[in-house]
Symmetry: C2
Subunit: 191 residues, 2 copies
DNA sequence: CCATTTTGGGACTCCGAACTCTCATTTTCG
DNA sequence: CGAAAATGAGAGTTCGGAGTCCCAAAATGG
């Protein structure tokens, strides 16, 4: 399939910088200009066009890359190992760490709806987070009456909320993960 | 202040339709075209321009209108009356009912940052939801270690998540409010 | 029913972002 | 060092949405 054209180290680094910056900028401003993205990535507009022909292709490539990065972060969190509660905490921290990519992918549902991968390599049944939630429910740790998809969506929502709080200066970066975990686990009632 | 020019019933209705539709469309696609918005509102593009001169003014007017609608819905929820827990449940249901406006206002932080009212009639200290949360904390119902702003943000996040679940067909419209309330109150742990 | 208001649709211009192309310069790496 | 790769900057073109105008048709309301 691939024309046996390995990318040079230089080009690979530039490509990474472009895609990472695009995710970060587009997450915060969906109408950002290509010039703005190029500037933020510290690259000329011409160079940007050497890597992606189109705005459309830029978004497509950024989606693909972001899915890759997020997926790897979750794998690194070893969701399938250890007690579900501890695994969930690692997963939350992993989410926070790739917050930019997550916000790019999921803040605007339009992005995933239009550009989401057509042929998921790992079908939904193998999503590590879903499996973790199901495992936790089976072991009696997570509430059994909540659908795993809902729990996962809540996880995204809280992580996003936490990141926004940090960016708006209403919260220190340090405590976000634990606050999110606490709220996710226990809600807002006194106990 | 106002040039004593009361708007005819006809114009008032079309204005409402335009602003409501704009909120709904822009909430789901921040890059929607004016033509798309006009179509969705079932008015001609010319008519749209008769009510707002500019895309900028359309957004500004939609923000103002949405704040009005959301504020009224929250007032109707009587946040200051009765036990905090029940008041919070009414507030959640009110949020769900004006979900479109909420998503327009808060899904993209850029909107409120750029167009949010400059002179809030009711300063932040008088936000009924914040006051409800503080009251609930004072009465020992809500967790005291969570800042009211964080609780409010979580409330928004969960309502948004619920609405999205409904729209994606993963959940029935009926049970959303109670699911959001349950998750908000207790989190995801088994109990 | 008639005067007035409101609307829809088309034709037109304008503008900014997107995209293309070229060439000199810099960086990489054997 | 020297060839090849990669980049930056600028000029020029294209394109689509935004905004303007006009007129015939429809709806409103007295």
């Amino acid at each position: 399939m691939n024309g046996a054209a390995p990318e040079s180290r230089t080009r690979r680094r530039t490509r990474r910088a472009i895609l990472a910056t695009a995710a970060s900028v587009l997450a915060r401003n969906r109408t950002a200009t290509l010039a703005e993205i190029a500037d933020a990535a510290e690259v000329g507009r011409s160079t940007l066009h050497r890597y992606v022909s189109d705005r459309d292709e830029l978004i497509r490539a950024t989606v693909e890359d972001s899915i890759e990065v997020v997926g790897q972060a979750i794998l690194d969190a070893r969701a399938h190992e250890g007690p579900p509660l501890e695994a969930m905490r690692r997963v939350v921290m992993a989410h926070v760490e790739v917050g930019d990519r997550l916000m790019f992918l999921f803040r605007d549902p339009h992005v995933m709806r239009e550009y989401g991968v057509v042929e998921p390599e790992h079908p939904v049944e193998h999503d590590p987070v879903i499996e973790l939630i199901e495992r936790g429910q089976a072991e009696g740790v997570f509430a059994p009456h909540l659908s795993p998809q809902w729990v996962q969506r809540v996880l995204w929502a809280l992580v996003t909320a936490g990141i926004e709080q940090v960016e708006s200066g209403r919260m220190s970066p340090h405590g976000v993960a634990s606050l999110v975990i606490d709220t996710l686990e226990h809600g807002i009632l006194a106990r």
